[in-house]
């Protein structure tokens, strides 16, 4: 074989490789064009639809976010319905079963999206912004898109715990001075509190939970009374606090401080999906594209929510994850199937031993 033929074969092979590669990952310019086309086409359709119904988004976030969206896409009204994810999920099941479709978008935790996917009640749609999102906050559930993150950690009443006494790592919570002074969300079932305790179990082992249980924790399913009692001083620490609740309370003047222990906080992705055969399908696609875009994510960040997109500056210190270690997040399909088992374990550890 001559050198010339070898070179021409190599060039041919490289050309083929380039062709294959370019067909797999399209030229960024083409991708941007495709996104622009999708957005333009969706906007045209959305204007005719006139509105978008979202399950799982409420005040104080809704108004500022909807205003920014409306500035960009005039003629589309957002109607949102705030409720726990499980209720949105049941509502969508009922709507799909009766074909009386009302909601377009569901915003909820992974378990609810997983269940709706299993029932084939979600529209296959993937945002074009996928590659720009933080990998740890991407859903591993089909037909589900990223949106934002919820940060969970310890919140304290700063009037009762001076800076020198603040817990610096999670093991500090086991000190005797904190006994009888901690409150937590009920760790059974799914939800923020349960996810936080599950993360602690995964990071520090079940023994840590047994020691935590011995600290005589006050459990409740009602974060309203937990926060009210925290500011009044009934207890001093809330160990499964969600960052957005603490932001709102701090801004209103409550003496609350959101701590970020050196060994990690929990940042869990909060996802969104388009409901199958959504009545405002174009508006729904437009929303998913916009809410994951830089402008949309900045709008979310400005309200104090933690963005799921790379390079978005946090609007509030509680949501800032720069340089913060993250606890392992219990999620994904396999872990979700263990919720029942986990609930039984947590019930024994926290509710039956004492």
């Amino acid at each position: 074989m001559s050198i010339q033929s070898t070179i021409s074969k190599a060039v041919g092979f490289l050309l083929l490789l380039w062709l294959v590669a370019s067909s797999i990952s399209p030229n960024p310019v083409d991708a941007a064009d495709a996104t622009a086309q999708l957005v333009a086409k969706s906007y045209e359709g959305a204007k005719k639809e006139g509105k978008l119904v979202i399950y799982g988004l409420g005040e104080p976030f809704l108004t500022p976010i909807a205003t920014t969206f409306k500035k960009r896409y005039a003629g589309i009204t957002i109607e949102a319905f705030d409720e726990p994810g499980a209720q949105s999920r049941e509502r969508i099941i009922a709507e799909q079963k009766t074909s009386r479709l009302i909601g377009d978008i569901i915003i909820a935790g992974p378990t609810n999206h997983q269940m709706l996917t299993d029932l084939n009640y979600l529209e296959p749609f993937k945002t074009s912004q996928w590659a720009n999102m933080i990998p740890e906050l991407l859903p591993d559930i089909p037909n589900t898109n990223p949106l934002r993150a919820s940060v969970f950690s310890v919140a304290i009443n700063s009037k009762l715990i001076p800076p020198a006494e603040e817990p610096k790592v999670w093991a500090d919570l086991l000190q005797s001075k904190f006994k009888g002074k901690m409150a937590s969300d009920d760790p059974r079932g799914s939800g923020g509190g349960a996810g936080m305790i599950a993360s602690l179990e995964k990071a520090f082992g079940v023994e840590y939970l047994h020691k935590l249980a011995a600290q005589d924790i006050f459990f409740s399913r009602d974060s309203g009374t937990i926060l009210a009692n925290l500011v009044r001083g009934e207890y001093s620490l809330f160990i499964t606090a969600s960052h957005d609740e603490i932001i709102a309370a701090r801004k209103s003047g409550a003496p609350l401080k959101f701590l970020k222990p050196a060994d990690g906080v929990r940042a869990a992705g909060n996802f969104q999906s388009i409901v199958k055969n959504a009545p405002h399908m174009n508006a729904a696609k437009l929303w998913v594209e916009w809410s994951t875009s830089e402008e949309g994510q900045q709008a979310f960040a400005k309200t104090g929510q933690a963005a799921a997109r790379k390079g978005i500056k946090a609007g509030e210190p509680e949501a800032d994850l720069t340089g913060v270690k993250l606890l392992p997040v219990v999620g994904g399909r396999q872990d979700m199937n263990l919720v029942k088992e986990r609930t039984k374990r947590f019930e024994t550890i926290f509710f039956k031993k004492n």
Binding site: F81, R188, G189, R221, L227, A228, R232, M336, T343
Partner: protein, 560 residues
């Protein structure tokens, strides 16, 4: 003969409507308890739900706790309610109109806010009353802890008194005085007359209402969840709640299987009630005039006045003050001058969701209350006044919604109406249907109680004088029932305006209800101030409705 056929047709139609409203969703629940998936979804027949529910020894501990809780609560609330009702309806205690209004107020306050109010008062370390007793009175330790079994009994008892009081005061006010006068003429004192004559005469209503209150308490989950969880006290309400809230996916089958024990318990209690009242007929409103006798208490009337005021202070003023103050605070719980704000009320005025919820509640709740009372009047007439073959069955069917806790009943209705080919889901019409269904047990009990007090001699007399059935109903029965109808509409409206567990799944975009919106806002930690403001608004609406109903003749008008 033709009229008889028409009556028979009407009675059969009423029976069919009631049977459809109640039995169809119930059948879906029973089906669901034996099914591995939701009804309508592919699955298999299973007994696992029953094995899980009753194979766990914890279930029996929960039953024991529940019996203790509900027994204590029903007795406490029943005794207090009866005493207060007697004071208002049958004595010359001063300012009875005002006192009655004050006693009823807790009935209008959303249950969750009553519990929140008591948490603020009796939390072990920072509860306002505990702090007062430690720092002002000088006690070493806080005497009260709301997070306990007795804390739950306390809050639930106070919440039930007003509900029972409404039934009792109406019955006492509608009583014939002849027997009491005879007792007095025979030398019996006021107390003896009350115990030996008055109380036995209203026994059917006392037992019926207490029974209903007992079952409502079994169903209640808000207070046990809020107060029981921190104390690790588990009762039936939070056990069912756990099956729905903690299991993944939601274990409706287990919840339904647990709810089945309600059914058995209810049938048992119903039998006890029937045995207790067997052969006893109490026609307290007869053709001889029924102006109730007023017992002159002398100087003792100031003691009864003070007792009523005391009840109002403890049951209403103390917890409600926490809610009212909280509604003016930027951060609920931070009672400081610099925290005062009108922002929560401003949000109510400007929030379109709140306005939509408010309109839906008033329109749908009001329409449903009127329709329910009309249907219940017909049912009560059939079951107490006719020889219709299916009357006992009809009476039993109307009780069945009590067999299943509200949250599970809601699921049954959801499944049932999803399966119907008529597209009802997401409509206001379906909410009216749901309200009527959940309102039937209270409505029928209320109307039957009053109808049972009307002596048939009134109708017989009317008929003998040539009046038709329609004329008799319009000119004799309806005027006599007017206060009860108005009271029924009000009680049902208030019940509907507070209903969360059953209606939450039907409240979609455009059909939101105020209680559901309130519940959803309460789940957001920082919105307790707004929830308090909403609770205050809801209470004001309900109290206004009560005052209007009173002007229309509900509860009668005690002369002051």
């Amino acid at each position: 003969m033709r009229r008889l056929d028409l009556s028979f047709l009407l009675m059969s139609l009423v029976t069919l409507v009631v049977a459809f409203l109640i039995l169809f969703p119930l059948a879906m629940l029973i089906y669901g308890s034996f099914w591995t998936e939701r009804p309508g979804f592919p699955g298999n027949f299973t007994l696992d739900n029953y094995i899980t529910a009753y194979g766990d020894t914890d279930t029996y501990k929960v039953f024991l706790n529940t019996a203790l809780l509900i027994g204590a609560k029903t007795i406490c609330a029943g005794v207090i309610a009866l005493a207060l009702a007697w004071i208002i309806a049958r004595t010359d205690t001063p300012c009875r109109v005002m006192l009655e209004t004050l006693i009823i107020i807790p009935f209008f306050v959303p249950g969750i806010m009553e519990a929140v109010g008591w948490i603020m008062l009796l939390s072990p370390k920072t509860g306002t009353l505990n702090v007062f007793l430690r720092e002002v009175v000088g006690l070493e330790k806080s005497p009260f802890n709301i997070y306990s079994l007795w804390g739950i009994v306390w809050v639930m008892s106070l919440g039930s008194v007003s509900f029972l009081f409404i039934f009792f005061v109406t019955a006492l006010r509608n009583m014939d005085a002849a027997l009491e006068e005879a007792a007095a003429a025979s030398g019996a004192g006021p107390l003896r007359t009350a115990v030996t004559i008055t109380m036995p005469m209203i026994a059917p209503i006392v037992l019926g209402a207490s029974f209903f209150s007992f079952i409502r308490a079994m169903d209640a989950f808000e207070v046990p969840v809020l107060l029981g969880l921190p104390a690790k006290v588990f009762v039936f309400g939070n056990r069912i709640y756990a099956a729905i809230e903690y299991d993944f996916p939601i274990n409706y089958g287990l919840a339904t299987a647990l709810g089945a024990s309600f059914f058995v318990l209810m049938l048992g209690l119903l039998r006890v009630q029937h045995k207790l009242l067997k052969g006893k007929e109490f026609f307290v409103i007869t053709g001889k005039g029924y102006k109730p006798q007023v017992v002159r208490l002398g100087r003792f009337k100031y003691v009864t006045f003070a007792a009523c005021i005391g009840f109002f202070v403890v049951a209403t003023a103390l917890p409600l003050s926490q809610v009212v103050v909280g509604s003016f605070l930027r951060v609920f719980g931070m009672t400081q001058w610099d925290m005062l704000t009108l922002e929560n009320y401003h949000t109510i005025v400007t929030d379109p969701l709140v306005w939509r919820s408010l309109t839906n509640t008033v329109v749908i709740g009001g329409a449903a209350a009127i329709l329910t009372v009309l249907l219940c009047s017909l049912v009560a007439y059939i079951t107490t006044r006719t020889k219709y073959a299916g009357r006992n069955l009809l009476d039993l069917i109307c009780w069945l919604p009590n067999a299943i806790p509200g949250i599970v009943a809601g699921v049954g209705m959801l499944w049932a109406y999803i399966m119907l080919p008529v597209p009802l889901f997401g409509t206001l019409t379906l909410l009216v249907i749901v309200f009527i269904t959940i309102g039937l047990p209270v409505g029928v009990r209320l109307m039957s109680g009053v109808m049972g007090q009307l002596s048939p001699e009134l109708e017989e007399c009317s008929m003998v004088h040539g009046a038709t059935w329609g004329q008799t109903f319009r000119k004799i029965i309806l005027p006599l029932l007017k206060p009860a109808l108005a009271a029924g509409i009000l009680i049902l409206f208030v019940n509907f305006s507070r209903a969360v567990s059953t209606t939450i799944l039907f409240s979609v975009h455009g059909t939101e209800l105020l209680a559901v919106t309130l519940f959803k806002y309460s789940q957001v930690g920082t919105r307790l101030g707004l929830v308090s403001a909403l609770a205050v608004v809801l209470t004001v609406i309900n109290v206004t409705a009560m005052l209007v109903a009173r002007r229309l003749g509900a509860f009668g008008r005690p002369s002051d």
